[in-house]
C-alpha cells in the first residue's frame, strides 16, 4: 500500500524506544529522589536533620529530573530529526549503529565527549569557555516552570510553580543571545563574529513578536502563571487556547448541559477557578447557557470566530518567532553552513560543541512545550469530558486501577493523573518537533535583509494588531480567566 511502510515503521519504533528510554529514567530517578529516598530517610530515623535532608531532596527533584532528561532527550531528538529528514528526502538516514541506527546519536555523543577540546590562538579563553555554559544554563533553568504545568501541578514539581512563570521563561529565553555574541566574538574568527552579530540582530527582532504573542495569550488567560493557564484549559479541545482562548467554552458548557453531564469529571478535575465565575443560578437549557456565555448574540458569535482566528495567528507568530529564537531553519542565519561555515560555533570542538548542540535541541523541546502549554492545553486530553463519558472506558479504567493500585497507593510509583498528563504532553510536544523538522525539510534559508523586513514590517505589526483585536473581541465573549 505505502511503499515506504518499513521505513516509517522503523522511525515509529525508534520514537517509541527512545521515548521509553527518555522517560523511564526520568520517572524512576524523580521517583527515587523525590519519593523513595525521603520516605526511607524519614522512616529510618525521624530526626530534624533527616527531615531537612528529605525536604532538600524533594526540592531538588525537578532539577535532577531535568538534568537526567536533557542529554537523553537531545540524543533522541537528533536521531529523530535525522531519520525524519531522511524520510522527507527519500533517503534512509543513519542505520548502522545499533539496530536500524538506534544508537547512532549515543555513539556520536561519546565521540564528541572524547574529542580534543581546542581553544584557538588569539581567542579570549575565558569568554570562549563561558559562552557554551551561558548558552546551556537557560535551557535548564528556563524550563522549570513548565514542569509544574505539564505534570498537572504534581506535588513534587510544585516548587517550580512560579506566579510569574511565563515571564520567567521569556527572561530565560532572552539569555542565549548573549552567549551567541560572546561565542562569536571570543572565537577570534571573522565567520564566528558575523554569526554572532547576526544572532544578536535576529534574536532582538524576533523576540518582539514572540513575546507579544505569548503576552496576548496571557491576556486571554488573565494570568502569568503557566500552571493556571494550563489548568484553565482543562476539559477537551474546545477549552484550549488554540480555540480562541476559551471562546468555545460556552459551547462546551452548553453541550454538557444538553447532555445532562453535570460536570462530573472522570479523570481530570474541573478547574478550581470555575466556581467563582459561574453564576449561582445555573442555567438549565442549551439556549440559556449559550446566552450566558455569548451575551451579545450575533456580535458575540462573530467575536468568538475572530478570537479563534486570532489564536491561530498567534500560534503561527509564536512558532515563527520561536524558530528564529532558537536559530532553526529557515532562520538559521547565525550558523549558516553554506555561508558562514556554521557561524558562531565554527571554532568549537569536543565537549563545548556538544554543549552547544545539546542546548540547541533542548531549546527546541522547550519551545515546543511552551507552545503546548500555552496553546494546546498542556497535559489535557483533547477529547472532551462529555464525550469520554459516553465511551465505554469505565471497565478498562477499573481493571487498570486494580492492577496498578499497589504501585499507586503503596509505593507512589505512578500517579495516574500525572501519567496521562505526561503522555499527552509528550505527544503534543513531539508533534511540534515534527512540524519543526518538516519546516526544516521544506523551506530554504532567509537572506538577512529579508529576515529583517519580515520581522519588523510583517510580524511586529501583525502581532500588535492581533493583540488589539484580542483585547476588544474578548470583551464580547465570556472566556475563562
Amino acid at each position: 500500500m505505502i511503499p515506504n511502510a518499513p521505513e516509517i515503521g522503523k522511525l515509529l519504533f525508534i520514537i517509541c524506544f527512545w521515548i521509553c528510554a527518555i522517560f523511564l529514567p526520568v520517572w524512576l530517578v524523580s521517583w527515587a529522589v523525590g519519593v523513595l529516598l525521603p520516605m526511607l530517610l524519614e522512616q529510618g530515623s525521624p530526626s530534624m536533620a533527616m527531615t531537612a535532608t528529605a525536604e532538600t531532596l524533594r526540592a531538588l527533584t525537578p532539577i535532577i529530573s531535568v538534568m537526567v532528561f536533557i542529554p537523553i532527550n537531545a540524543m533522541f531528538m537528533v536521531l529523530y530529526e535525522r531519520r525524519a529528514l531522511a524520510l522527507f528526502t527519500v533517503r534512509l538516514g543513519p542505520n548502522r549503529v545499533g539496530p536500524d541506527g538506534l544508537l547512532q546519536t549515543a555513539a556520536d555523543a561519546v565521540k564528541l565527549l572524547f574529542k580534543e577540546d581546542i581553544t584557538p590562538r588569539g581567542a579570549d579563553a575565558f569568554m570562549f569557555t563561558l559562552a557554551p555554559i551561558i548558552f546551556f544554563a537557560p535551557s535548564i533553568f528556563g524550563a522549570l516552570p513548565l514542569l509544574a504545568a505539564i505534570t498537572n501541578n504534581h506535588s513534587l514539581y510544585q516548587i517550580t510553580n512560579l506566579p510569574t512563570g511565563i515571564f520567567y521563561i521569556l527572561a530565560a529565553a532572552s539569555l542565549p543571545v548573549v552567549a551567541l555574541v560572546m561565542a562569536g566574538w571570543s572565537s577570534n574568527n571573522k565567520y564566528s563574529l558575523v554569526g554572532g552579530l547576526r544572532a544578536a540582530a535576529q534574536a532582538i527582532s524576533y523576540e518582539i513578536p514572540l513575546v507579544l504573542s505569548l503576552v496576548t495569550v496571557c491576556l486571554m488567560a488573565g494570568s502569568l502563571d503557566v500552571v493556571k493557564i494550563a489548568q484553565q484549559q482543562d476539559g477537551g479541545i474546545l477549552n484550549w487556547n488554540i480555540a480562541g482562548g476559551g471562546a468555545l467554552r460556552g459551547l462546551d458548557k452548553a453541550i454538557q448541559t444538553k447532555l445532562g453531564v453535570e460536570t462530573t469529571p472522570l479523570i481530570t478535575p474541573q478547574q478550581s477557578s470555575d466556581p467563582t465565575e459561574t453564576p449561582v443560578a445555573a442555567p438549565t437549557t442549551f439556549e440559556e447557557v449559550i446566552h450566558q456565555y455569548y451575551p451579545f448574540e450575533f456580535l458575540s458569535y462573530i467575536s468568538a470566530g475572530v478570537l479563534i482566528f486570532c489564536s491561530f495567528i498567534l500560534l503561527g507568530l509564536y512558532l515563527t518567532g520561536a524558530c528564529a529564537e532558537i536559530n532553526r531553519i529557515p532562520f538559521d542565519l547565525p550558523e549558516a553552513e553554506s555561508e558562514l561555515v556554521s557561524g558562531y560555533n565554527t571554532e568549537y570542538s569536543g565537549i563545548k560543541f556538544a554543549i552547544f548542540f545539546l542546548a540547541e535541541f533542548t531549546n527546541l523541546f522547550i519551545v515546543s512545550s511552551i507552545a503546548t502549554v500555552m496553546f494546546l492545553g498542556g497535559g489535557d486530553n483533547p477529547i472532551p469530558q462529555w464525550l469520554l463519558n459516553k465511551m465505554p472506558l469505565e471497565p478498562i479504567q477499573k481493571s487498570l486501577g486494580a492492577i496498578l493500585s499497589p504501585f499507586i497507593n503503596g509505593l507512589h510509583l505512578i500517579d495516574p493523573d500525572t501519567f496521562w498528563a505526561a503522555f499527552w504532553v509528550i505527544f503534543k510536544v513531539y508533534t511540534f518537533v515534527f512540524i519543526a523538522i518538516l519546516i526544516r525539510g521544506t523551506l530554504p534559508r532567509f537572506r538577512i535583509d529579508q529576515l529583517m523586513d519580515f520581522g519588523w514590517k510583517r510580524l511586529v505589526p501583525l502581532s500588535l494588531i492581533a493583540f488589539l483585536v484580542v483585547v476588544f473581541a474578548r470583551v464580547l465573549v465570556v472566556c475563562h480567566g
Binding site: 515571564f167 520567567y168 544578536a200
Partner: protein, 203 residues
Amino acid sequence: MDQYMILKDYVSSADAETALFYVIAILAISLSVGVISDRNIIRSGFILIGVFGAISGLFLMLQAQFLALAQVMIYAVGITLVVVIALMLTNPRSEREAVITEGDEFSQETGAVQFIQRLQQGTPAFVAVFSFFTIYLAIRSESWTPVTEKVSTDNVKVLGEALTTVYSLPFEFASVLLLAALIGAIMLAKAEKRQPAIESAED
C-alpha cells in the same frame, strides 16, 4: 505546599539571607570594578551583563520578581546591543592604548606641581569616593525603622493595577518618552546616503 516549609524557613532565615546577600554583593562589586577597568571594551560589556545578573539576584532577594525578570530580559538584550555596537565602533588597536585606570604621563615638574597633578588625575576617584561617602553618611545618619510586613507574593498584580490606575499618566508619559527616544535614535543613527566612504574605511 507545606512540605517545603522547613526549607523555606531555612532559606528565609536571617543568616542565610545575609550570606547570600554578601555573596551577591561581592560578585556585583567586583564585576562592576571589572566593567570600568577591563582593557577590552567588549569584555567589559559582557561583564556588565554579569553585574546586571547579580543585581537582578538582589531584586529576587528583595522579592521583586517582576523587576528581576524584566532586568534580565531588558538588559541581557540591551547590553548585548551595546556590545555589538561597541564591536562595530572600536578599533582593537586604538582601544588597547586607551587604558582608563592608568593616568597620563607625568610632566617633568617636581614638588608641589607634580603633587597637584597627581591629585588632579585622582579627581574621578575623589569624586566617586566623595559621593559614595556622602550617600553613606546620609544613610547612616537616618535611623530606619523597617516594616516587618511581608511582601505579598502576588505583587505583580499590585504593580499592574497601580500602573493602570493611579500611575496611568506617568505610564503614558513613559511610553511617549520611549517612542520619542525610538524615533530620535533612528533619526540620529540613520546613515546619510552621501557617506559611503566611512563604511569602507572602517575596516
